[in-house]
Amino acid sequence: MPDPIIDVSGLVKTFGSFRALDGFDLRLDPGEVRGFLGPNGAGKTTTIRVLLGMMRASGGRVRLFGQDPWRRAVALHRRLTYVPGDVALWPGLTGGQCLDVLGASGAPLDPARRDELVERFDLDPTKRVRDYSKGNRQKVALVAALAARADLLVLDEPTSGLDPLMEEVFRECVTERAADGAAVLLSSHILSEVEALCSTVTIIRRGRAVRAGTVAELRGLARTTVHAVTPGTPPDLDGFDLHDLSVTPVADGGAGHDVTFTVEPGDLEKVLRPLVDAGLTGLTVRPPSLDELFLSEYDGAPA
């Protein structure tokens, strides 16, 4: 197994008496694209700032490329790029100047890719930052990060303020960079973005990793939603491990019933059999969505 790019275990970060990170674990291997999810204030940005050596860990072990990011920040930053969720740039400089300023240190920008990305993101590099919208400021940071020759991309809610078209461009570019072999840590609230881009996911809540694994594993934990319409009284489903079960007479006043519930994917066949035997006039089965799993993790409901 290759050495991990990010190796965090038992990370603690306190601000006074407040424990922002409380024994947090995170691992990112070369070439891996990991989604980093969690409710507001769970500790995502704090984690990223510790990883970037901008904040010092209060406890636990943090290794970036096998080294301590607090002490070796400058050297390590030559191998990564970063996009913050709230991009602040110098109001008097133009977007193009900002790209050069950012490219002047750290991972070098690939000039051809820089020009290509300016084009693809439809960015006017001659406009001054004070005249940019939030989305356009975000694009400057994205171009700077995606044009860099880096082994690691750290993205903290990188698409906030982007229109859907630009979000699509962003997804294509991240996919390309991952295909080139770069590892990506993507903190995001947009679940579809995470599902589309990431192979693995870590969910953080109250400073702890409450769930970590591949997207496929998590999908296995998520439940399938079933909506069946029966012509008469539905069969007894008490013997099955169903959640959110509801049985209501259909609205047209007939004898039919609407039956909805969620079930673990492995139990789907067993529970459908009695329903099919009893006869069905309608059936929709929605495959497991990560949304519900994420929401329940965000909520703190026992999974």
């Binding site: 490329f65 930053h77 913050p84 740039l89 300023v101 950012l102 002047a104 750290g106 082994d151 750290v154």
Partner: protein, 535 residues
């Protein structure tokens, strides 16, 4: 991928040159304004003094009158070597140098360090290969470079008028070192406080204390002055019989210590954090805070109160010298002759009017700071949220303008009161200085008016408000020395109203200043009503 996991990274510094270039590119206008402004006014002063006091006899007259005037000692510092061109210039320029050079060091360092950190500008930068110290080292380097240019420019101006090279160089170096001390203050305070405004406030308090200690030391002729960086500059005595280098070394040593401490602390703290942490506050806003005037007062109240306390202290300390000054003047026939020949007559009220100018400049500074903060509401994006509610634009700006006027007035009256209380021992007049401060109030309205006019019509040029206040300071402190034409003097609202309390206020002056102030306010409010927000 490039050599993953080998752990070998090239050591090519911490991005200092990249940050240096960035700071020069984003800050050259401010750097140029400081250097050109200071050197320009200094060169003009040298030229004017050379014309007025061209002969050794004229210089001797200066030494006998102004050079031994304790009023001057309090305001400008002890006039060492006041029978030479350099000494006379150093004395005449003393006040401007004592305020402007420390502010230059303080503000130039803060704007590209703590202010940038507070605005989030350092976050992306630090994610590149930029070390935590690089922005601070670069800011110190750039500021030191600019201060050296100021020192060189001043020394060059003296050389051009035939002052000895060694004296000119020592003077230039002492000015540079004074600025460096305050660059060091900014570097250290920048680690202790999260907000740039707090760092500047600490620097201004240090400057105020330095000014007061230097004045006490000079008037009472005691050792208190050695607490003051301003005295370290002055006590090099470049133009006296006995120039000294060691106070310069003292200043450089303190500057290096403060900067070094600051740089050591940067490497130990988190980005965006400070040694003094922020505390949680109440969960709800009271009815007062939820109102428009309440918000405005809450925003500016602490700043204005600090200025008012500072002005009262400056007034009280300087007022306490009035006694000594009356004694010295009484013992010096030359000085008495000079005073009775001038328009002012009574030397103590002449002295009081000098001090009152100090107080009024503080009031202007307080009012301008309020206006500058109002502008930041707009550039920071908060104004849009306010105006999106049912808040009239003119009401919003008018409320803040009212707070600026009332706050500026409070500072002026507090300073006047402080001055009146301690000066009354000598003058027997408990109300004079206070009344004079009240008579100057139209000038405060005019300053706020100019600020509001700029906000409404030329918001991106709001920096001109500070230029205007600097201009008033030059007129009041150097106007006669520079033999400025009357029209140029009358632009200063203080000059238009008159030297209070030495002279009676000019009725026309008060009316004109008041009318201009109201016109500016009206134009600014109307302009704000009709322009784009944000702009």
């Amino acid at each position: 991928m490039t050599a993953p996991g080998t752990g070998t990274t090239r050591r090519t510094g911490d991005g200092l040159t990249a940050v240096l270039r960035l700071q020069l590119r984003t800050g050259w206008k401010a750097l140029l304004a400081w250097v050109a402004g200071l050197v320009g006014v200094y060169a003009a002063t040298v030229a004017a003094i050379d014309t007025t006091y061209g002969t050794p006899e004229q210089l001797a007259t200066y030494q006998a009158t102004v050079g031994s005037d304790p009023t001057m000692a309090a305001i400008n510092g002890t006039p060492y070597g006041a029978d030479t061109l350099g000494g006379v210039v150093a004395n005449e320029f003393g006040f401007i140098a004592a305020i402007a050079v420390p502010l230059m060091g303080l503000l130039l360092v803060t704007r590209s360090t703590r202010a940038a950190e507070e605005n989030g500008l350092l976050e992306l930068l630090r994610s590149r290969a930029i070390g935590s110290r690089a922005p601070w080292s670069a800011a110190l380097g750039v500021t030191a470079g600019a201060l050296v240019l100021v020192g060189l420019g001043m020394a060059g101006s003296l050389l051009a008028y035939g002052v000895e090279a060694a004296d000119a160089a020592l003077y230039g170096a002492s000015v540079t070192a004074l600025g460096l001390v305050f660059a060091g203050v900014a570097t250290l305070a920048g680690q202790l406080l999260r907000r740039a405004a707090g760092v500047v406030a600490v620097g201004i308090v240090v400057l105020g204390a330095a000014y007061v200690f230097r004045a006490i030391g000079d008037v009472e002729d005691n050792g208190w002055k050695w607490l003051s960086p301003l005295a370290w500059q002055q006590e090099t005595r470049p133009f006296a019989e006995d120039p000294r280098v060691w106070p310069l070394l003292l200043a450089l040593g303190v500057a290096a210590t403060l900067s070094g401490l600051g740089l050591a602390l940067v490497g130990r703290r988190d980005l965006g954090s400070a040694v003094v942490p922020s505390r949680p506050g109440p969960a709800r806003a009271g009815r007062f805070l939820a109102s428009g005037p309440g918000q405005a007062l809450r925003q500016h109240g602490a700043t204005l109160l600090a200025w008012a306390v500072g002005a009262a202290l400056v007034g009280a300390v300087f007022g306490a010298f009035t006694d000594d000054i009356a004694d010295v003047v009484a013992a010096n026939p030359d000085l008495q002759a000079a005073f009775s020949a001038g328009a002012a007559g009574d030397p103590t009220s002449w002295y009081l009017s000098f001090t009152l100018v100090l107080v009024m400049l503080m009031a202007f500074g307080a009012a301008a700071q309020v206006v500058a903060r109002v502008r930041r509401e707009e550039t920071g994006g908060r104004l849009e949220a306010v105006l999106a509610r049912s808040v009239r634009r003119t009401t919003w700006l008018g409320t803040h303008a009212a707070v600026a006027v009332l706050g500026g007035a409070l500072v002026a009256l507090a300073g006047g009161a402080g001055l009146a209380v301690t000066a009354s021992r000598a003058t027997g007049d408990t109300a004079g200085a206070f009344t004079a401060a009240a008579q100057y109030l139209p000038a405060v309205v005019a300053v706020v008016g100019l600020g509001v006019a700029l906000l409404g019509l030329l918001p991106r040029a709001l920096g001109l408000l500070w230029v205007a206040i600097a201009y008033v300071a030059v007129v009041e402190m150097l106007g006669e020395t520079l033999s400025m034409p009357d029209a140029a003097l009358q632009v200063s609202p203080l000059h238009a109203i008159g030297r209070l309390p030495a002279e009676d206020p000019s009725g026309t002056g008060v009316l004109v200043v008041g009318a201009v102030a109201v016109a500016l306010l009206g134009a600014g409010l109307a302009g704000f009503r009709h322009r784009d927000v944000p702009r």
